[in-house]
Subunit: 311 residues, 2 copies
């Protein structure tokens, strides 16, 4: 069975660190990741440079990334303008932020949930009017789907209602994000089961955080509900400001090890993936990188899933 | 549903660190853990003090621990002599090491697997001859059940054959240990399913390591096979000599958060458990402690399982 690991480090990770990685360093890192076998990378965010100087070179990064063979290039866009810019640069897919928490939506997007969904609808409409057949995809990972640090509880019925509206708006893929590191495996299973029942084949990936050390435990739960796409970032880049080991995003290296060990084929070569950490570190000297597998190494018994799984 | 978290820090953790924790500090830590709600603690190892000076006070530690109300006190014993000493000190249960890898058995116990099983049989025989009704329990967690750093692959048939022989010898509880941090969730599920089919109600707990960040993912898999006892150590004490975050034992604090969040009742108060870290740190100044939950805190939405699970 094949699983898609979607690397979000160059977007989600880099926008969370203070330093700005030079454009050429981004190119090198993205190429190293693709050469390790990553089939999809979220490379940039199309937001005003005055808000996120780390993403000022978004168009250039996308143009370079789409030249890499067999790589699906994602970009984040908060609105129609950003989506148009991302698509003009050649992004294969645009991912848009929609939150299931009104408080988080106001704080993060400065608009209510309704308006965020409406913005996505406009992007889909515009995309659908483009000449085919290679129209870009439009994806949403619903933020704070498992709880919100601002408003607390996020009703599951509301999360599913948001998903249904996004599906009705024509979004290709609707995933769930544990933005706050609140999720537990029972909740992950329950919510993805409901999502699949609601939107069927439009069910998207899981974006899970490791804030409380539960990231990979939640991956196991999502796998059981048929989720086949997982976001992660190299070295857990985009970590939160806690102590060593307490990262935000789940660590790509550890996720790929989990999946491959289970006999799930990611197409990724862990040794080359670990080697790409040096390319990342060169572009962001001194930035802490997390992950267990890079330190512990692979077990003596490890075999890649593609080489014959024992799971 | 109730889950037993068996704290192994005072034995497994302390024997792995170089410094010797003073006996009085051990008492304080064990009491703090029990007061947080831990119902079972492995407090000492009955091995010669010249091999493990950290455990020279084993009998004294057991005698003090059995005075704590409602606490089940475990001790490790490598042989009949150690088991007799542990039981004389009042241990409620003795856990004995048996490996499923000949190479590891030789390296760790200086005897073949057969001889280790035979030693366990002698202990059970001796125990059974004690006057009842409060005879101590005898447990085994089979080491290297998921692979061995020395011999590599450990055949699953052999693991199950060892379990069958231990059950035939009268061992009360037979668990599986991922001594090397090699396990993956598919393997955990498969092996515990086979264990249960082989030994039924004698199926014991899971002793999982977090060496490659997979500890809690493996817990989720074991839960699904009906495992109801999990070993863990506070702060991941007993960690391996890798970089920050790369611990050996799974961290009790993060495990309890996982279980309670899923609506599984551990009887443990996480705030008091986290507070016990200070007592541990006082007894072992400077020793690194791991764990995500102690740094990140509890989610705004967190409720203890006993207060009404949402899972």
């Amino acid at each position: 069975m094949k699983i898609l690991v979607s690397e979000v480090g160059p977007r989600d990770g880099l926008q969370a660190v203070k330093r700005v990685m030079p454009t050429a360093a981004k190119h090198r890192w993205i190429r190293a990741l693709a050469e390790a076998g990553l089939a999809e990378i979220e490379v940039a965010s199309f937001v005003p440079a005055k808000l996120l100087p780390q993403m000022a070179d978004a168009a250039e990064v996308v143009r370079e990334a789409v030249a890499i063979p067999r790589l699906t290039v994602l970009a984040l866009a908060p609105n129609l303008r950003g989506a148009q810019d991302a698509m003009a640069a050649g992004a294969h897919k645009v991912t848009m932020p929609v939150s299931a928490s009104e408080a988080h939506s106001q704080s993060n997007l400065r608009k209510p949930v309704d308006a965020a969904i409406e913005e996505v609808r406009r992007v889909v409409e515009w995309r659908d009017a483009l000449p085919g057949p290679a129209r870009p995809g439009v994806e949403v990972g619903i933020s704070t789907a498992f709880g919100c640090t601002l408003q607390g509880e996020v009703p599951e019925d509301f999360v599913i209602a948001v998903a249904a509206r996004l599906a009705a708006a024509g979004v290709d893929s609707i995933g769930l994000s544990d933005t706050t590191g609140y999720a537990n495996p029972a909740q992950v299973r329950r919510l993805f089961r409901r999502l699949k029942a609601e939107v069927g084949e439009r069910m998207g990936g899981a974006h899970l955080h490791n804030t409380r050390g539960q990231g990979l435990a939640n991956v196991v739960a999502a796998l059981e509900e048929g989720v086949t796409t997982f976001d992660a970032s190299q070295g857990g880049l985009g970590g939160c400001p806690y102590a060593p080991g307490a990262s935000g995003n789940i660590v790509t290296e550890d996720l790929v090890f989990l999946l491959e060990s289970m006999g799930l084929d990611t197409g990724i070569d862990i040794a080359r993936l670990v080697a790409a950490r040096a390319v990342l570190a060169e572009g962001l000297p001194g930035e802490p990188l997390y992950g267990h597998v890079p330190d512990a190494g692979l077990p003596k018994t490890f075999r890649r899933a593609a080489e014959g799984a024992r799971a």
